[in-house]
């Protein structure tokens, strides 16, 4: 609430001319909200995404699938404080941050980032990196080797996630400089992870029996819990991206809620039209689709915009996980691409169209903005695809990406971890 106080005091004192001169100070309300947002975004991954994914696989793979998310939290955390943060948000240039903040060098309790402690910004951003990796794991569910997954994450955070984050969100990043709009991570998190997932699915190959044997979800109760936690956690993802507890944050959670709801209804509606029944997995998927679509736009659009974006997003992602999926022929097992990349692309483009002057306080020129958005999408998609391919191939050569056939048949829980659920 700093600015209001400053304003108040200024008002009281008289002039107000000096108010702008004051260095930013810590605001406890903003800090409280970002502390909580950090909790919420972490909750989206563990147990949120762990459950969303865990419920959709076969019973023999549920622990391993959840383990992919849990290990993302572990591996990415360590890499992020050591190297990731400085590469993403260290000053650097257009493409990548420098190494000045390696191991969070120089960040004390009192270092601020706006009105919150910088160390808080570090961990808030860390939770975004974590979920990005966890999303990717859906593409290779049921067949990736655990050690390969650990290695992949460590490399990918450093080589792909950190640079792209720098492009989009660091003040010196080239996409940021161009004015690409990405409020909370449509490109950084969703397109990036979705594309990486698709490439990884191609490299690792389809599951044994894919398309022939039943791979029906073993327990969608878990997926509904997961989707619900992802939904509520997303308030931290989008609302926290305002980096303050104010009207912007509040507006962002409202657009988030509206888009999630609209996409749920839209998915259910079209599913019923096309397949005769509206499914609960559809409701969960629709909600996630709406959340993905609104992510780049949450702080830029009004409620009407969010409503329309949600309706479109639900329908397009339904296609992404059905028609498009069949066309792509990759066994993207849990639809990292169909939901996150497709939703992210739709969102990035619609952001330009629905950006609201009332909300943003300035007018957005449609055509130039659209072009900038597309440039961002394409750049992120290409970089992510190429780098993911290289990393995957290197790991495949060095330690092998995929478990053996018998281990896959037996299930990852037993073959990789020596455990199982009853």
């Amino acid at each position: 609430m700093k600015k209001y106080i400053v304003f108040l005091v200024a008002l009281v004192m008289s002039g107000g001319a000096w108010a702008a001169e004051l260095p930013p100070t810590l605001d406890s309300g903003d800090t409280a909200w970002i502390l909580v947002s950090t909790v919420l975004v972490l909750l989206m991954t563990i147990p949120g995404l762990a459950l969303f994914y865990g419920g959709m696989v076969r019973k023999k793979n549920v622990l391993a699938t959840m383990g992919h998310s849990v290990s993302a939290a572990a591996v990415v955390t360590v890499i992020w404080v050591v190297l990731g943060y400085t590469l993403a948000f260290g000053e650097g240039g257009l493409w990548v941050g420098d190494l000045s903040k390696i191991l969070l060098n120089g960040i004390t309790k009192d270092t601020l980032s706006g009105t919150i402690p910088e160390i808080l910004f570090v961990i808030f951003q860390m939770t975004f990196a974590i979920i990005t990796l966890a999303i990717i794991s859906g593409s290779v569910a049921d067949r990736i080797k655990f050690s390969a997954w650990i290695a992949f994450m460590a490399l990918w955070v450093v080589l792909v996630y950190a640079p792209i984050t720098h492009w989009v969100w660091a003040p010196t990043g080239w996409l940021f400089a161009k004015g690409a709009l990405d409020f909370a991570g449509g490109t950084v998190v969703h397109i990036n992870s979705g594309v990486a997932g698709l490439v990884l699915a191609y490299v690792i190959g389809n599951r044994i029996g894919y398309g022939r044997e039943s791979m029906a979800p073993h327990n969608l109760v878990l997926s509904v819990i997961g989707a619900s936690l992802i939904w509520v956690g997303w308030f931290g993802f989008n609302g926290g991206s305002a980096l303050a507890a104010n009207g912007s944050a509040a507006y962002a959670i409202v657009t988030t809620q509206v888009a999630a709801a609209a996409a749920t209804l839209s998915w259910l509606f079209f599913e019923r039209m096309l397949h005769g029944k509206a499914s609960i997995l559809g409701a969960a998927s629709g909600a996630v689709a709406g959340l993905v679509v609104i992510t780049p736009a949450a702080g830029f659009v009004d409620v009407k915009g969010a409503l329309i974006m949600g309706l479109i997003g639900g329908a397009v992602c339904l296609w992404g996980t059905n028609g498009l999926k069949r066309m792509l022929k990759a066994d993207d097992a849990l639809d990292a691409f169909g939901l996150h990349a497709v939703g992210g692309i739709v969102g990035a483009i619609l952001t330009a169209i629905f950006a609201s002057e009332m909300i943003m306080g300035k007018k957005i020129e449609l055509i130039p903005q659209l072009l900038t958005q597309i440039e961002g999408v394409v750049a992120v998609a290409i970089y992510s695809a190429v780098m993911t391919f290289i990393i995957a191939k290197v790991i495949d050569i060095l330690i092998g990406l995929r478990v053996g056939n018998d281990d896959e048949r037996m299930g990852l829980d037993l073959s990789q971890h020596g455990e199982r659920i009853e």
Binding site: M56, G211, S214, M215, A216, P217, H275, K277, S279, L281, S285, T321, N322, G323, K325, R326, D335, G338
Partner: protein, 112 residues
């Protein structure tokens, strides 16, 4: 001694148990199974992948009894489970050579 195996719809289990209790049937064993037969299954669609589920949940009852009671038990089962719809189920009868009650080591009819 005979073993009667009946495969029925799950929700009929309570009815059958009551009908058999009326015949003074002292014991039976129940297994959850899946059945494939004339009754057709259904299609499940998850994220674009369509699975035809041919196997439907059924309950298998196993009753060991003496030869005299076989017919009345079969009649009792049919009387409560017959709806005339596909999937009502099947009953099989087989021979059992020996029956032992672990608790007492009794054998044959005494063991039932």
């Amino acid at each position: 001694m005979k073993l009667i195996t009946a495969i029925i719809k799950p929700f009929q289990l309570d009815n059958v148990r009551e009908a058999l209790a009326a015949l003074d049937v002292k014991g039976l064993t129940v297994t959850e199974v899946k059945g494939f037969g004339r009754q057709k299954g259904h299609t499940e669609l998850y994220r674009g992948a369509e699975y035809v589920i041919d196997f439907l949940p059924k309950v298998k009852l196993e009753i060991v009894t003496n030869a005299e009671m076989v017919d009345s038990i079969i009649d009792a089962i049919i009387s409560v489970t017959k709806t005339g719809k596909m999937g009502d189920g099947k009953i099989f009868v087989a021979n059992v050579e020996q029956v032992i009650r672990i608790r007492t080591a009794e054998t044959g009819w005494d063991a039932i």
